[in-house]
C-alpha cells in the first residue's frame, strides 16, 4: 500500500470526522423511527395471524395486492390520483412562487407581515372543518350557492353533491387555497436568502423588476423549486385523504371524479380491517413514487448536477 495515500486518507478522514459526528443523532433517529419498522413491509406479503406472529404467518405472495387491480375502478382511481396530483404540483408551484415573489416586493412591513400570517390560515384549519365550510356553500337546502349566488344569476339550484363534473375544480381550488400559503413560506425563505448585491447590481444596470425576477430570483431559487417538486413527485400516488374523502362528503355520485387510491383503499378495507391489504397498498404507492423520483432525479442530474437530490 502506498504510504502517501494512506496518510492522505487518514487526513481526509480526520478532516471529515466532525461532519460524520454531526450526523449521528439524526441518522440514529432515522434508523429507529423509519428503518427498523420497515421489517413490517413483509406484512404486505403475508396472511397475518397473531397466534403465529408476524414472522410466523403464512406467505401468500401477491394476493394482498390483487384487490388494487381487480376492480373495474382501477383505471379511474389511478387516473384521478395522478392527474390531480400533477395539477396540484404545477398549481402549487406557480401560486406559491408567485405569492412569495410578491410578498418579497411589498415595502410596507406591517402589511407584509399581515399577509404572511393570513395566508397561513387555511393550512391550520382541519379538513373536517373545511368540509363543513364547503357544505355551507354547497348544501342543497341552505347552501350559499343555491340560496344566494345562483338566484342572483337567475339560475336553477344545483345538487352539488350529485354533480361529478364540477368537483375537479372545487377540489383543486381548495387544495391550492389550503396549501399554497404554507409552501409560499419555503420559497419566501429562499428568496430572502438571496444576496441583495445581485439586485443592487441589476438595478444599477437598469434592469426592470420583471427582468430581475426572471434572471436573478427564479434561477437562484431553482434548487428549492426542484427539490420541492421532486418530493411532491415521490408522493404522486398518495393523496390528501381528507380532501378527497371528507370534503365531497363521501358522496357516491361523485366517485368518478373524487375516488383516489387512498379513498378506495379506505372504503374497501373499512369492513375488513385487513392489515396485509393496507400494507400492500402502501407499498404499491411507495414503489411507484420511488421509481418516478429516481427517473426525475436522473433527468435533473442530466440538466444540472447541482440541483439533483442525490
Amino acid at each position: 500500500m502506498n504510504p502517501e495515500r494512506s496518510v492522505k486518507r487518514r487526513t481526509t478522514f480526520k478532516k471529515y470526522l466532525p461532519y460524520y459526528l454531526m450526523l449521528i443523532p439524526g441518522m440514529v433517529y432515522l434508523i429507529i423511527n423509519n428503518y427498523m419498522p420497515m421489517f413490517g413491509l413483509v406484512i404486505a406479503f403475508k396472511d397475518i395471524n397473531f397466534v403465529k406472529g408476524i414472522w410466523g404467518s403464512d406467505w401468500i405472495g401477491l394476493k394482498n395486492f390483487e384487490y388494487l387491480f381487480k376492480t373495474s375502478d382501477a383505471y379511474i382511481i389511478t387516473r384521478n390520483t395522478i392527474v390531480y396530483n400533477a395539477v396540484f404540483i404545477i398549481l402549487n408551484l406557480v401560486v406559491a412562487v408567485g405569492v412569495a415573489i410578491l410578498l418579497n416586493e411589498i415595502r410596507n412591513k406591517l402589511l407584509s407581515r399581515f399577509y404572511q400570517s393570513v395566508i397561513l390560515l387555511p393550512y391550520l384549519i382541519s379538513t373536517v372543518i373545511i368540509s363543513y365550510l364547503v357544505f355551507a356553500m354547497l348544501s342543497m337546502d341552505n347552501g350559499f350557492m343555491n340560496n344566494t349566488v345562483l338566484p342572483m344569476l337567475g339560475m336553477e339550484p344545483k345538487s352539488w353533491y350529485n354533480e361529478p363534473g364540477v368537483w375537479p375544480y372545487i377540489l383543486t381550488f381548495i387544495h391550492t387555497w389550503k396549501g399554497a400559503g404554507y409552501l409560499c413560506i419555503v420559497y419566501l425563505a429562499a428568496i430572502i436568502g438571496i444576496d441583495q448585491e445581485y439586485y443592487e447590481a441589476a438595478t444599477l444596470d437598469g434592469a426592470s423588476k420583471w427582468q430581475q425576477i426572471r434572471r436573478i430570483t427564479l434561477p437562484l431559487i431553482a434548487p428549492v423549486i426542484t427539490i420541492m417538486t421532486l418530493l411532491a413527485v415521490g408522493r404522486i400516488f398518495y393523496s390528501d385523504f381528507g380532501l378527497f374523502y371528507q370534503v365531497p362528503m363521501d358522496s357516491g355520485a361523485l366517485y368518478d371524479t373524487t375516488n383516489v387510491i387512498d379513498t378506495y383503499v379506505y372504503r374497501g378495507l373499512m369492513q375488513l380491517g385487513d392489515i396485509g391489504m393496507s400494507s400492500a397498498a402502501g407499498l404499491y404507492q411507495s414503489l411507484v413514487g420511488f421509481v418516478l423520483v429516481l427517473l426525475s432525479n436522473f433527468i435533473v442530474r442530466k440538466i444540472n448536477k447541482e440541483n439533483a437530490l442525490f
Binding site: 441518522m27 432515522l30 419498522p37 393570513v118 397561513l120 382541519s126 355551507a136 419555503v186
Partner: protein
C-alpha cells in the same frame, strides 16, 4: 421611471395579496361566527355570516372543561417548544454535512434520508418498536419522538438551502482561519440560515401543535392528552357516534350531550388562535432580509 415601476409593482402586489388574504380570512370568519351561532339555528339555516341567533353554548361547554383544556394547553406548549428545539438541532446537524459537496458518501447519505420519505413500515410495526422496545406508551416522550422529531423532508430542504445560500468562499475562509467544523457551523452557518431555520421551526412547530395522531395511538391516560388529541377525540367521538348504525339507539343518547356543530367550530378556533399569535415570532427572521434590501434599494 424606476420609481414609477416600483409603484406599479406595489399596487399589483397589494391588490393580489388583498384578494388572496380575503379568500383566506372569510372562511375563517365564517368558522368563528358559526362557533358563536345558536346550535339549532345552524341546523335550520346552515352556516351564515349573519346568523339569526347567536349562542355561546359551545364555549360554555368548553369552559366547563377548562381545567382539562388548560392542562392540555400546557402539554401542547411543552411538547411544541421542546420538540421544535430538539428537532431544529438534529435536523440542521444532519443537513449541514450532507450539504457539503466534497463530503465522501454524501449521495448515499442523502439517499438514506430521502428513502425514509417514501417507504415506511406502517403503523403496527412502528407501534411495536416504540411500545415494546422503548416502552414509550403513556409517556410525554410519546408525543415528541415518534414520527415527528425529524422529518426527511425538512432535512433535504435545509440541505438545499445550505447549498445554495451559504457561499463556499465564506466557509473556506473560516476554515483558513482555523475554525473547526462545529465552530464554523455555529458562528457562520447558523446566523446566515435564519430564514430556513425559521421556516423549518415553523413547520415543526405547526406539526407538533396540530399533532393528534401520536396522542391517538400512544396515549390512553387522559392526563397526558395534548390539546389537539383532546379536541380530536371529542371530534372523532361525535363523528363515530353519528355514523355507527349498529349502536344507533344507544349512541343517539350519548351524542345529545354535545353541542356538536358549533362545538367543532369552537374547537377549531381555540386550536388555531395560539399559532397565529406565535407566528410573528417566526416572522422576525423573515423580515430582516427584506428590510436590508429595502433600505439599500
Amino acid at each position: 421611471m424606476v420609481n414609477q415601476e416600483t409603484r406599479a409593482w406595489q399596487w399589483i402586489g397589494h391588490t393580489i395579496l388583498w384578494l388572496y388574504s380575503a379568500a383566506c380570512i372569510l372562511p375563517f370568519l365564517l368558522l368563528f361566527i358559526s362557533s358563536i351561532t345558536d346550535e339549532t339555528t345552524i341546523v335550520t339555516n346552515g352556516y351564515s355570516f349573519f346568523p339569526e341567533k347567536f349562542g355561546f353554548n359551545a364555549y360554555t361547554y368548553l369552559w366547563k372543561e377548562s381545567a382539562d383544556i388548560f392542562r392540555a394547553y400546557g402539554i401542547t406548549i411543552f411538547v411544541t417548544v421542546v420538540g421544535t428545539a430538539v428537532s431544529l438541532v438534529i435536523t440542521s446537524l444532519l443537513a449541514y454535512p450532507i450539504s457539503r459537496p466534497d463530503l465522501p458518501l454524501r449521495n448515499p447519505l442523502s439517499f438514506f434520508v430521502f428513502f425514509t420519505l417514501l417507504f415506511n413500515g406502517g403503523l403496527v410495526p412502528t407501534y411495536l418498536i416504540y411500545t415494546q422496545i422503548f416502552e414509550i406508551k403513556n409517556t410525554i416522550q410519546a408525543l415528541i419522538i415518534p414520527s415527528l422529531l425529524m422529518n426527511g423532508f425538512n432535512v433535504l430542504l435545509m440541505r438545499t438551502f445550505f447549498m445554495t445560500t451559504i457561499p463556499t468562499p465564506v466557509l473556506e475562509s473560516a476554515n483558513m482561519d482555523g475554525a473547526g467544523v462545529f465552530r464554523t457551523f455555529y458562528s457562520i452557518v447558523l446566523p446566515l440560515s435564519m430564514p430556513i431555520m425559521a421556516t423549518v421551526g415553523l413547520f415543526q412547530g405547526i406539526a407538533y401543535w396540530n399533532d393528534w395522531f401520536n396522542g391517538l395511538i400512544y396515549i390512553t391516560e387522559p392526563k397526558l392528552f395534548s390539546l389537539q388529541s383532546m379536541l380530536n377525540r371529542i371530534m372523532t367521538d361525535i363523528q363515530f357516534l353519528s355514523t355507527n348504525s349498529a349502536l344507533s339507539s344507544q349512541s343517539a343518547e350519548a351524542l345529545n350531550n354535545l353541542p356538536s356543530e358549533t362545538f367543532r367550530m369552537a374547537i377549531a378556533v381555540i386550536g388555531v388562535i395560539p399559532i397565529l399569535l406565535a407566528y410573528p415570532f417566526f416572522q422576525k427572521y423573515f423580515v430582516k432580509g427584506i428590510t436590508i434590501g429595502a433600505v439599500k434599494g
